[in-house]
Subunit: 255 residues, 2 copies
Amino acid sequence: MADPTDDRVTCAVLIIGDEILSGRTQDTNLRDIARYLGVLGVDLAEARTVPDVMAEIVAALNALRARYDYVITTGGIGPTHDDITADAVAQAFGVELYEHPDILAMMSARWGGELNAARRRMARVPVGGELVKNPVQGPPGFTIGNVFTLAGVPQIMRGMLEDVGPRMRGGRPTVSRTVRVEGSGEGVIAEPLEAVARAHPDMSLGSYPFFGPEGYGSNLVLRGRDPAQLGEVVAELMAALKATGIANVREVESA
Amino acid sequence: MADPTDDRVTCAVLIIGDEILSGRTQDTNLRDIARYLGVLGVDLAEARTVPDVMAEIVAALNALRARYDYVITTGGIGPTHDDITADAVAQAFGVELYEHPDILAMMSARWGGELNAARRRMARVPVGGELVKNPVQGPPGFTIGNVFTLAGVPQIMRGMLEDVGPRMRGGRPTVSRTVRVEGSGEGVIAEPLEAVARAHPDMSLGSYPFFGPEGYGSNLVLRGRDPAQLGEVVAELMAALKATGIANVREVESA
């Protein structure tokens, strides 16, 4: 709950995907979003999970966006035929979809002649929407009105969230710092990261892995309200990583 | 609310608890229920998560029980002041709560003179309700109308589920098979997958990508009611993928 002196700022989450309702996939995005919003001071007020069915997504989205300050959707923005979230958001807002030139440019640079119709689906954004940065891999998400449409893959969703908080009203301001680990995967980072996260439940710690020809590793983003405390936790995390034998750790500019 | 000409049986899940919406607790009950229902052939059609607030629980429960064949609630049936699920279910059905004699007898045997007011809260059942056995520990759940009210603690919830299935009008079980593609992303998989999906509208085909330092690809899950037809479609999909030049395709154990 926000301070009584503050306006309460509310958010709902709409999880889109047959794979959650079939039990095949364990959702973890709700918990990650809840923690991220908690640090911002935004109340997660309700969550719904709906199947990949146009009418269901549209109805749930319209109910939630009318009732809460913000809605975050996860899932259904990939290139396959069952990825209909962009279509549903556009329908809910009564607008068309168009191929966003920035995404097309990004995709052309990445895929060149292999930019086929399926991939181009991921360039579609509702008219009037803006992009949500994707620091992990693949095309960005988007936002229109009070709705943020993010990926369903947890690592990508978490990365996109970092570009959502700064656009939300009234959440108490947070500061973030980024620790970059090179040459170690999340498998070895997870344990020290989780230990530090558990010791500081009032802070948000996210891990955004990268890999490619130039190397692999992860950017660890720490977010909190108190800059002094944040500095201490950055130092604690770096010490914990090094104590685990992870040598290549340094602080970088936050995204 | 299934079409009477259809043998589709639907269920919704209502997750009740501030601890889920705050991100403190990772829900796992939805997935467990989904898998349990899948084996029964009951479709999990929607899930909602609401806070421990009477009006929110009542509104969500009334919306869901009007629309689906069954509703399963989890959480909020403990002894503390914030456990208001029984009150909310009674209010939704417009009935009173009473202390069920079987539960009181069980609790007296267990607690004797220590059966205090807080514990007696857990003996309350809506008038017209029946008990749902708890084979694990603590008091039973209950059912009224098309609603089953279960514990939130995962081990107890799962135990109670065993007494829910036999009371549901069973649909036919679905079977699933999984085709794993390695070294190809969804961008190239999408086209053959969509062609096969369109040719078989009575089956569910989903693509669940994975990626990491050790590789990337996608698990393609096919789900249907007719095992023979499912086998034919698996073969058709594998042939279509290979015809597109996707070499690393094999069937794996379904989850």
